[in-house]
């Protein structure tokens, strides 16, 4: 990379994985470099500084020079998720409504097979219960009952609360979680438990933490709420110390901003935020946020986001400039209740294993994969099963000497022999024929996923642009979009780092949800109770958001608030999220707006004829989002050069395509200039990705260094 020491870095995105910590630095011109260092889970700030230093080397900058110039730093990482998966979280106690003490052992049936392949879902022998985050002996039931309308049916047995808290403190728990039935409607009992617990903790001089469900996640569905509170206390909250260390290091180096964390709703939040569990998964979210930002900057609204990594193919839709949010995601085999960008993940990536079924000799791709180990062609991988990467190497699409910028040397012959022995010979095929067959099967599979997601939502490819990123996206994009008439197909030249780039594009945004269950049949009804239920929820949520921003010194007048609702027909199960254009429901006209917006969204998502206004409407959830200004990367803009690339950089190699050997032009991505158009068969290589432009296609590089792929 080039020396840009006159240009200061402005945005820093940290991606702390289990093995490597990446830092992505973006400068004022939108250019970026990636630093890498070995992860250090004990003290993440060490890995972070090493990685940052590595990145700054590319620009010949020192930490002391660069850090004070930064305007924002965004963290995403896998530490919380690993803590959860490895069951290495806090020692917790749990207080629930009496009768529900076996919640975690019984769980919900669905949790015994979450994340399984279809065939495993059918094979009950593979189903298994999760190890509870809190063992049964540290779960106490207390009597008392609030009904679903929020009225007290049985008063809280406070003596049982006292007894439970004392016992839990005797057991030396680090934290106590409290999750009582219907506390989202009426939190009085939980508040009482909190007061009693605080009193006892004080008396006994303990430092036990308290996690109260109605304070953290005031939402319906007590089991999912319980899971969410537990995950918060068990795995997410313990990361605060790491964040403090990173923040402290940054301050020492002269930073004048605080670290923010990428959250599942697509915004970034402070490390002091109440609901940290929603930062548990941030990996695939970055790309969708980045695509949304790109769409906004480039002035279009509908985008299909496609990301191919080593293990999976991730797909998300942006429609009208907005991604969709689902409110009951599952993460690490837990049903949770928090907002997560809707991303469909298919277990098919470039590292996916390829095998023949022993009985029918059918080619099977995945669902398991070699991931970062690439494939048999990687001599140090220790792998013996063919992967998609191996096929790409044999067919000439991937350059064995320039994979990951030459850091990993791939052995074409190893791949050839493995494909021959495992696939081609048993099928009586030529090796190249077999490899190409596998790739086209793989791409067909992805194409089916793309088209079914778009059509399934009631849209057509003609209305969408498709963005392809991730290390493997650009290799296969022509294949998995073939025959689908997308308005445009975009491949950012920074495709491999697009997810991290996306994190840097995220708004500084809080989102707060509360279950409300407000019903209205029509406008002849008295709208006051309906309006008041929602308005008071919005007021409460707005206060929460203000409170969260206040932790970072952001004042309410610096925040743009949006009022949203999730609405469904009474008796149906799927709610739809809509934006309310005001900040309060005052008149019947406001109610009409809600109904109209819901009907419109519903008709789009399902079908016009499925609309059922006669059922009446139910608002399930009130939502407030608050956004404040934060610096985002500029799109790089370079002057347009000639239409033809400089041939002095052009190399050639043979590739196998549609049953023939073709002479392909090969370019290094850095050597192509904005304005250049290349025609297939062309291969464009960069250290972290390869862009394949097959025969019959062309790719134009625009001023923002984004390729546009189209049939010739």
């Amino acid at each position: 990379m080039t020396n840009k020491n006159t240009i200061q870095p402005r945005i820093l995105a940290i991606d702390a994985g289990g093995t490597m910590t990446d830092t992505i630095l973006v400068n004022e011109e939108g250019q970026f470099v990636v630093g890498k260092a070995q992860s250090n889970p004990e003290d993440e700030s060490i890995a972070f500084i090493n990685s940052l230093r590595d990145g700054l080397n590319y620009w010949n900058l020192t930490l002391e020079d660069a850090v004070p110039a930064l305007a924002s730093s965004i963290y995403s990482g896998t530490a919380m998720l690993n803590r959860l998966l490895e069951r290495k979280g806090r020692k917790l106690g749990l207080i629930v409504t009496a009768g529900f003490e076996d919640y975690l052992r019984m769980e919900r049936g669905i949790q015994t097979y979450l994340g399984y392949s279809y065939s495993d879902r059918l094979h009950l022998v593979t189903h298994r219960h999760n190890e509870p985050l809190v063992p049964r002996e540290r779960i106490f039931g207390v009597r008392g009952r609030i009904d679903l309308f929020g009225s007290e049916q049985i008063p809280l047995y406070e003596n049982e609360v006292r007894e439970a808290v004392h016992k839990l403190i005797d057991m030396n728990v680090e934290g106590i979680c409290v999750n009582l039935l219907h506390s989202y409607v009426n939190p009085e009992h939980e508040k009482r438990v909190k007061n009693i617990a605080q009193e006892i903790i004080r008396q006994r001089g303990a430092d036990t933490l308290l996690f109260i469900s109605s304070e953290l996640y005031p939402v319906s569905q007590d089991f999912a709420r319980l899971n969410t509170v537990l995950v918060e206390a068990y795995a997410a909250d313990p990361s605060r110390d790491q964040f403090k260390r990173i923040n402290r290091k940054m301050r020492e180096l002269g930073a004048n901003h605080e670290l923010r964390v990428m959250a599942s709703h697509g915004g970034t939040i402070s490390t002091e935020a109440k609901e940290l569990a929603r930062t548990l998964v941030s990996g695939p979210i970055g790309g969708v946020v980045g695509a949304q930002y790109l769409a906004k900057e480039l002035g279009f609204e509908n985008v299909v986001c496609t990301d191919i990594g080593g293990t999976s193919f991730d797909l998300a839709l942006i429609t009208g400039g907005q991604f969709t949010i689902k409110t009951q995601p599952d993460i690490a085999r837990f049903m949770l209740k928090l907002p997560l960008i809707e991303i469909d993940s298919v277990g098919a990536g470039t590292g996916s294993f390829v095998r023949l079924t022993p009985s029918s000799k059918r080619i099977e791709i995945g669902p398991d994969s070699a991931g970062y180990r690439i494939g048999v062609s990687n001599p140090v991988s220790g792998l013996s099963t063919v992967t998609i990467n191996d096929c790409n190497v044999v067919l000439g699409y991937l350059n064995p000497d320039n994979f990951l910028g030459g850091d990993v040397k791939l052995d074409k012959e190893r791949a050839y022999n493995a494909i021959k022995e495992q696939i081609a010979d048993p099928l009586g095929l030529d090796v190249y024929e077999a490899a190409e067959g596998i790739i086209s099967l793989f791409e067909d599979h992805l194409r089916n996923e793309v088209i079914s997601r778009v059509l399934g939502k009631g849209y057509a490819p003609e209305n969408y642009r498709l963005i392809s990123y991730g290390g493997g996206g650009p290799v296969h994009v022509a294949g998995y979009t073939a025959g689908l008439n997308f308005e445009d197909i975009l491949v950012p030249s920074w495709a491999a780092g697009f997810s991290a780039y996306g994190c840097a594009c995220a708004d500084y945004e809080y989102r707060s949800d509360k279950t409300v269950q407000a019903q209205i049949a029509n406008l002849e009804d008295n709208i006051t109770p309906f309006a008041e239920t929602i308005n008071s929820a919005w007021r409460e949520l707005k206060d929460r958001v203000i409170e969260e921003f206040a932790k970072s010194g952001v004042k309410p007048d610096q925040v743009e608030f949006r009022h949203l609702l999730r609405v469904q027909y009474v008796g149906q199960l799927n709610d739809v999220e809509i934006l309310f254009p005001g900040d309060e429901i005052k008149t019947a006209g406001d109610v009409q707006i809600i109904i109209d917006r819901f009907e419109e969204a519903y008709a789009k998502m399902y079908s016009r004829s499925a609309r059922s206004p006669e059922l009446g409407y139910l608002v399930t959830t009130a939502i407030i989002t608050g956004v404040t200004e934060s610096e985002k990367p500029k799109l790089p803009t370079e002057p347009l050069g000639p239409a033809t690339p400089d041939t002095k950089y052009q190399e050639t190699r043979l590739v196998y395509y549609k049953g023939n050997w073709e002479q392909a032009n090969v370019y290094q991505m850095d050597h192509l200039r904005p304005g250049n158009t290349v025609y297939g068969f062309t291969i464009i290589e960069s250290p972290n990705t390869t862009f394949v432009v097959p025969k019959g296609y062309k790719a134009y590089l625009d001023a923002h260094r984004i390729f546009h792929l189209s049939p010739e």
Binding site: S119, D120, H123, T126, R128, R355, L356, P358, T385, Q422
Partner: protein, 164 residues
């Protein structure tokens, strides 16, 4: 095709593999020679030398005696006789046919009604291990669980016919 080494399969048999590994094995196709490997593991785990032809049930095997006869044998060494005979006829049996006996293993009213169902427990006379349990109506004939066609299996499935 996955291949698992003998040690992994030994651990599988002993229940020592982590669930993720077991799940991976459950979900993928079996190694071509899994049967022979499991047979080898069974053979090394028993204290006697008769050749095991087939794992038959928990603790039980069909073995080939030096005279080529095939008998059902417990891992303790107790022999139940010819594989074509129901081994249960040579086992000890404990029949739970009263409320008291049923309540020894079930909480009250959670077990069966002895007028409608008995629980028969078959026990090895050699080592006393519980080999099989039947839940059947009173008077029901002893169930013959499994009559394997060993010759066809070896010949057509394993492609290794047994010499007779």
């Amino acid at each position: 095709m996955r291949e698992y080494d003998l040690e992994t399969l030994r651990q599988l048999k002993r229940g020592e593999l982590p669930f993720e590994k077991v799940h991976e094995m459950q979900s993928s196709h079996k190694d071509r020679d899994r049967f022979l490997k499991m047979l080898a593991i069974a053979q090394e785990s028993v204290p006697w030398n008769d050749r095991i032809l087939l794992p038959y049930a928990e603790h039980l095997y069909v073995v080939e005696k030096p005279d080529k006869s095939r008998v059902v044998k417990c891992d303790c060494g107790y022999e139940f006789g010819d594989v074509k005979q129901n081994w249960k006829l040579s086992a000890l049996v404990y029949v739970r046919d009263t409320k008291e006996k049923i309540n020894e293993i079930y909480p009250d009213k959670m077990g069966c009604d002895p007028d409608w169902m008995h629980i028969r427990e078959y026990i090895c006379p050699g080592c006393g291990v519980l080999l099989e349990t039947e839940a059947v109506p009173p008077g029901y004939p002893i169930v013959f669980d499994f009559q394997p066609d060993i010759d066809t299996f070896y010949e057509k499935w394993l492609n290794q016919p047994l010499s007779k």
